[in-house]
């Protein structure tokens, strides 16, 4: 249907309505009215259009008349100022009417009126729509009844139940509206999200900025949940709403996970919510909607998860380290029969492990430099006796820990049986990294100037530890050479993150 045709039909419906309607411009001039209005006020359309309403109806010269005009004017001004509908339950207003001799006289009428702001597309108020009901007969009936000596049933009905109530309604309405606005304001400003869903399809009637924030500022008003938030279909929430609507039992969700499309075309985002679905009932206790309220607990859930992960990881590392220490103790005990020798070796190995931990702690466990690890494990034997030549090489934590143990064993062995067991002996360590695309560390440990070397009759814990660390933990290769002129070890260790753990 074309909008022109729609407008014409609306205008016809307006004109035909038995209820009197009229439109005022914001400067309170007549902009339009229907036939019922013209009949009620006894005027012709051409006499009203464009004229100020208070010029047409000055309500007469009496104090009462002026008071009534003020009351009406105040109602219009409230509409314009507050932008809200205003009700006048009872207003006395004189209307010009034809007198017995054809002259115009003012005739007292009683009205009930509703004034509604009409806005243009930009939200500006362009008209006030007045909907009036003439209650003159009812009011006169009530007043006559009140004036009679004997109280009549009709009086108690009318004065007690209808008109008095009408007078009070105006006051009560204003109080209710204030209350409603205050509640609405509280909802709107609440840090938690609030929404009101209406009917069995859960149509969004109202939601606050926190709710808008939660769902990524989509336009929800007037849409059912399954249409407004299509991604939640299949996530149990619509089923829960249906159940609350059907049973009238509220539902409470704790740290409940939901996937939401918070940016158009973006990925679904996971949030965790504490929320409650509370049924809204009408006067007959039927469920007519659902009040949704809650808050986003995603940060809390995530930080609890992170904390749990960290504690698990810490526990894992501590237990692994304890198992490592247990292994060092057990293996060391097998090669040292005397408690003093055991204690020395065991402590030295623990300290080697501990030193590498210190290095890693300094870098927040991001890794350590090869030279630092070497220096740490050899400096006890005199730095001038050990030559370290090579470029900086960043080691991952696991590789640093393994190589720390390896260098400790080499240095200890050199001090006991090798080049560092005599004053003139020296250790030359040099290294380089080949193949930058999949880098491999090649490192040589060579002892010179030491006593003649004899290959050990059986492999001790030290050499087993070296070989195992390199093969098993570092996925590398090591060759130990017990040449008579001096012990040497050649390492080849991949650095591309293939080191294990």
């Amino acid at each position: 249907m074309k909008s022109g045709a729609l407008d014409a039909e609306l205008a016809a419906a307006f004109e035909a309505s038995p209820n009197p309607y009229m439109l005022l411009t914001p400067d309170l001039r007549y902009a339009g009215m229907n036939a019922a209005y013209l009949a009620a006020v006894g005027a012709r359309r051409e006499d009203l259009l464009g004229r100020p309403i208070f010029e047409v109806f000055d309500s007469g010269p009496t104090e009462d008349g002026r008071a009534n005009a003020r009351q009406l004017r105040a109602s219009f001004e409230r509409v314009l100022r507050e932008g809200r509908r205003d009700h006048l339950a009872l207003i006395r207003y004189a209307m010009p009417a034809a007198g017995p001799d054809g002259e115009t006289v003012l005739q007292e009428r009683f009205w009930s009126a509703t004034h509604t702001p009409i806005r243009d597309a930009s939200g500006r108020i362009i008209y006030i729509l007045q909907h009036t009901t003439d209650i003159t007969e009812l009011e006169q009936l009530r007043r006559r009844a009140a004036g009679a000596d004997r109280k009549r049933a009709i009086d108690s009905i009318l004065s007690g139940n209808v008109l008095q109530r009408a007078e009070h309604v105006q006051q009560a309405n204003r109080e209710l509206e204030t209350e409603r606005n205050r509640l609405l304001e509280m909802f709107m400003q609440a840090p938690g999200f609030v929404a009101v869903l209406s009917g069995p399809d859960h149509v969004f009637q109202m939601y606050n900025p926190a709710y808008a924030q939660l769902i990524g500022h989509r336009d929800l008003a007037g849409k059912p949940v399954r249409e407004a938030l299509p991604e939640v279909v299949g996530q149990a929430y619509i089923g829960l709403l249906d159940a609350v609507y059907a049973t009238g039992e509220p539902h409470e969700g704790r740290a409940s996970r939901v996937e939401l499309q918070r940016t158009p075309d973006g990925p679904l985002e996971t949030v965790w919510l504490d929320f409650i679905y509370q049924p809204i009932r009408d006067d007959s206790r039927n469920v007519v909607g659902i009040f949704v309220q809650g808050h986003d607990v995603t940060e809390t859930v995530l930080s609890t998860e992170r904390q749990k992960l960290m504690i698990d990881e810490l526990n894992h590392r501590v237990k692994n380290t304890l198992a490592t220490v247990q292994s060092i103790a057990m293996q060391t005990a097998r090669t040292h029969r005397d408690p003093v020798g055991f204690a020395e070796s065991f402590q030295a190995r623990l300290l080697a492990l501990s030193h590498t931990h210190d290095l890693l702690t300094r870098s927040h466990w991001e890794g350590a430099d090869l030279r630092d690890v070497l220096e740490h494990e050899t400096k006890a034997h005199g730095p001038h006796r050990i030559s370290l030549v090579g470029p900086p090489v960043a080691l991952e934590p696991a590789a640093a820990l393994s190589l720390g143990m390896v260098f400790h064993e080499l240095a200890t062995n050199a001090a006991k049986y090798g080049a560092l067991s005599v004053p003139e002996g020296r250790v030359l360590v040099d290294w380089g990294v080949s193949d930058q695309t999949s880098p491999v560390l090649r490192l040589a440990w060579r002892e010179v100037g030491g006593p003649p070397v004899q290959a050990p009759e059986r492999r001790g814990f030290g050499s087993r530890l070296i070989e195992r660390n390199v093969h098993h933990d570092l996925a590398g290769v090591v060759e130990l050479d017990y040449a008579q002129s001096g012990f040497s070890a050649e390492f080849s260790i991949p650095l591309d993150g293939r080191s294990r753990q």
């Binding site: 698990d312 526990n315 894992h316 590392r317 501590v318 237990k319 692994n320 304890l322 198992a323 490592t324 220490v325 247990q326 292994s327 060092i328 057990m330 293996q331 097998r334 393994s402 143990m405 087993r464 530890l465 195992r468 660390n469 093969h471 098993h472 933990d473 996925a475 294990r500 753990q501």
Partner: protein, 125 residues
């Protein structure tokens, strides 16, 4: 009791060489023959499926940053009993494996033996 374990071939899956050496020492002391050790899930799967006889296995839950459960599945399919070793406690096991024989790091020889016996006993029933 320990003759049940004598001569048994026990696969060790453990990424840290020192811990693997500890387990091997414990196993050797009990008269077992350690197989491996495997430092990764792939190596573990290799040992589990290469057709060599295995009587049982000790599986570190977290191996080189991966979970060992594919190896557990392969062993289960082959009817080889196994024991998890973990630093995470029993809470570190997913529901599927909860209640399975587990040893906690650091180990005692008695704990390793009891857990192996339990696993092998279950498998023999």
């Amino acid at each position: 009791m320990s003759e049940t374990l004598t001569g048994r071939r026990i696969l060790v899956v453990e990424d840290e060489s020192l811990v693997a050496m500890l387990l091997e020492t414990i196993l050797e002391d009990m008269g077992c023959t350690p197989v491996g050790p495997a430092a990764t899930v792939e190596d573990g799967l290799g040992f589990a499926t290469d057709g060599e006889r295995l009587d049982a296995a000790l599986l570190d839950v977290n191996v080189a940053g991966r979970q060992v459960f594919p190896v557990a599945d392969a062993l289960k399919a082959a009817g080889v009993p196994f024991v998890f070793s973990t630093g995470y406690g029993e809470g570190g096991l997913p529901d599927e494996w909860r209640g399975h024989a587990t040893i906690q790091k650091p180990f005692t020889e008695a704990a390793v033996r009891d857990a192996l016996m339990k696993a092998m006993g279950q498998a023999n029933v």
